[in-house]
Amino acid sequence: MHIIENGNVAAALGVKLCRANVIAAYPITPQTPLTEKLSEYVESGEMKAEYIPVESEHSALAVCIAASSAGARSFTATSANGLLYMHEQVQWAAGARLPIVMCVVNRAVGAPWNVWNDQQDSISQRDTGWIQMYCSDHQQIIDSVIKAYWLAEKVSIPIMVCYDGYILSHTYMPFDAPDQEQVDAFLPPFKPDYALNTEKPANLNTVTLPDVRMDVRGELAHGYMEIRYLLQEEMRAALAVAAEAEKRFADIFGRGGDPYIEPYLCDDAEYIAVGLGSLTYQLRVCVDALRKEGLKVGVMGVRFYRPFPDVAIANALKGKKGVIVFEKALSYGYEGALVSDLKSALYEHLAGTGDLPMVQNFIAGIGGRDIRTEDLTQTLRAATKSRVAKEPVWIGLKL
């Protein structure tokens, strides 16, 4: 059914359709309306779930970790400093291999205090062992939540579904809210390998020694390093499972595309703008304008940031003259995290082939600084003429 709603409601509807059993969240702008909507669903009986109010984000994820360990499909959501406050439990959920889904409604981190949009919050959680998906519109938010549960439970890795605060969370757009029957057909009930059980007690994630050990059955059990290696190995393998999720989703819901990247006018393009989230849809407007000037430009959104779809990205950018990466976050002291990863993928797959494009990096919209389409267009135009600068350039900076 097509409805007009905001991005937070799209996320909440996705969680309801996935029949999450336990929701624990602490309100923080701009995530608040999402959790308020979920609490309304639970309070009205529209959704059969436990909504557990907590005193902090750290506790919110701790509740989800416990609930997921007990076999419950769990959900939480946060933004900015809330996510940072969760950080210790974020790492724990990944090491414990719990298929929790969390919406990160992207917002700038303090200090200084700021409630507006950028993506420093989720980017700063890149190395925690969570899968990260980025959404560009409301349809992608609801669809990503549904796909995320299937994928997370298939690979036993938690997933962050990231979408831009305000730009997506608080704006209204039409989107298709799938039927419950469709979602039930796509997403079977959560059946973990082991769920907390008083008949079969176990110690989960206790002190695990540097070396392997014999367990009580006399079988050789993993040490810490083997457990962490398996997380890396299965995270990489999750790329193929994500493609399976995308295909399954398309078969049932009739929409979908490339699971990893979202190209727009890229086939004949000489220059490609790259980004995460709603910024890539704004860049489409710039690309349309520059195409009228005869410039062969395209734009590519990266939908999966971790695991990083290096092969898909290298294939898409192979032989292009230039790649221009726009980011709403950066790794302080160097450059945008996405551009570093992207260059690493290009080097790995294209070095020495003569197909290696020139790569430039622009930082935009930090702390909600307005990203003017004219500025983006001008930046993109200039970047196709020559290399603008070696260091990342901040668009719209007023220093």
């Binding site: 082991y194 050990r213 050789l220």
Partner: protein, 104 residues
């Protein structure tokens, strides 16, 4: 042989001795039982067993005499502390020869 085919991909241990590895290697002091002071040993009957009850690692048996599994005993000293007749004393591991340690 490695752990590739181990049935779990997380740290998951079932209850029982040794679920945390060979913790006996952590020990600095070893509990030594004096059977002439131990209540069940003296009475030749099942009694007391405070050491068995309090051992957090469940490495002391409910037998006459109580046996301490040194493979997993961390040497925490709770048994010695709880023993009502002071039949258990904690002895510095250095007092035992390398040969003794190998026999653990």
């Amino acid at each position: 042989m490695g752990t590739r085919n181990y049935r779990r991909k997380t740290s998951h241990s079932d209850h029982g001795p040794g679920d945390g590895g060979r913790t006996g290697s952590w020990r600095v002091e070893r509990p030594v039982l004096n059977t002439s002071l131990c209540i069940p040993c003296k009475r030749k009957t099942e009694a007391c067993f405070m050491c068995w009850l309090f051992c957090p690692e469940v490495v002391i048996s409910r037998t006459i005499p109580p046996a301490i599994n040194l493979e997993y005993c961390k040497g925490c000293g709770i048994c010695a502390e709880e023993c009502p007749t002071k039949a258990i004393t904690m002895v510095d591991e250095a007092a035992f020869s390398e040969e003794d340690k190998d026999k653990e």
